[in-house]
Subunit: 110 residues, 2 copies
C-alpha cells in the first residue's frame, strides 16, 4: 500500500541541503566538490547527501572523461515522475470531492 520509491524521493527532497543540490543540478551537471562548496558543508557531508540522492534515484553519477577522479553529478530526467503522478492523483481526487460537495449543495438547497 505504501510506495517505497515515493517515500525515498520525498525523504531525499526533504533535506534543505539536498534540495539545494537538486536546484543546482537542474541548471547543469556539477562536480561533487562544487556542490560541497556551494552548499557550504564539508566534502564528506556532501558525499553522503549525494549517496542518498543517488539511492533515491534523483541523481546519477559518472566520471569526468578526462580526469576520472572527479565525479559529475546530474539530475535524472525521469527523477520525479512518481511524485508528479501522485500529485496529479491528488488533484483528481480533490476535484471529485469538490464536485461531490457541489452536488450536496444542490440537494440541500432544494
Amino acid at each position: 500500500m505504501s510506495a517505497p520509491g515515493l517515500d525515498r524521493t520525498l525523504a531525499a527532497l526533504a533535506d534543505p541541503h539536498r534540495r539545494r543540490v537538486v536546484d543546482l543540478l537542474r541548471e547543469r551537471p556539477h562536480r561533487a566538490g562544487e556542490l560541497a562548496q556551494a552548499a557550504r558543508i564539508s566534502f564528506p557531508a556532501m558525499s553522503r547527501h549525494l549517496r542518498t540522492l543517488r539511492k533515491s534515484g534523483l541523481v546519477e553519477e559518472d566520471r569526468d572523461e578526462f580526469d576520472s577522479r572527479v565525479r559529475i553529478y546530474r539530475l535524472r530526467p525521469d527523477a520525479m515522475a512518481e511524485l508528479k503522478t501522485w500529485l496529479a492523483e491528488t488533484d483528481a481526487l480533490w476535484a471529485r470531492q469538490l464536485s461531490a460537495f457541489k452536488a450536496h449543495l444542490q440537494k440541500t438547497s432544494k
Copy 2:
C-alpha cells in the same frame, strides 16, 4: 534562497504515516480518531503528526458542528501549489538543458 514553505511541505510528506494521512484525506475529510486507527498508531502519535501537517499548511482542522469534541481534518485545496510550481520549474530547466545539449551535438558534429 531556500523556501521555508516548500521545506515544510516536503518534510511533512516525507513521513510514511503522514503521507498515509494525506492519502486518506484526499478521499474525504476524516476525524482525528479515524486517522489514528487507519494508520495503526496511537492517538497521541497521530495527534502530533496532524500538528506537523497543520503547521506545514497541508491540512486544516475544524470541529464537528454537532459534537465539538471531534475534530475534522481536511486537505487544504492549495496545499501543494508551491511544490507543483517547483516541479514545473524543474521540468522547464531540464528542457532547457536538453536543448542546450542538442545544440552542442549540432556544433560538435560539424
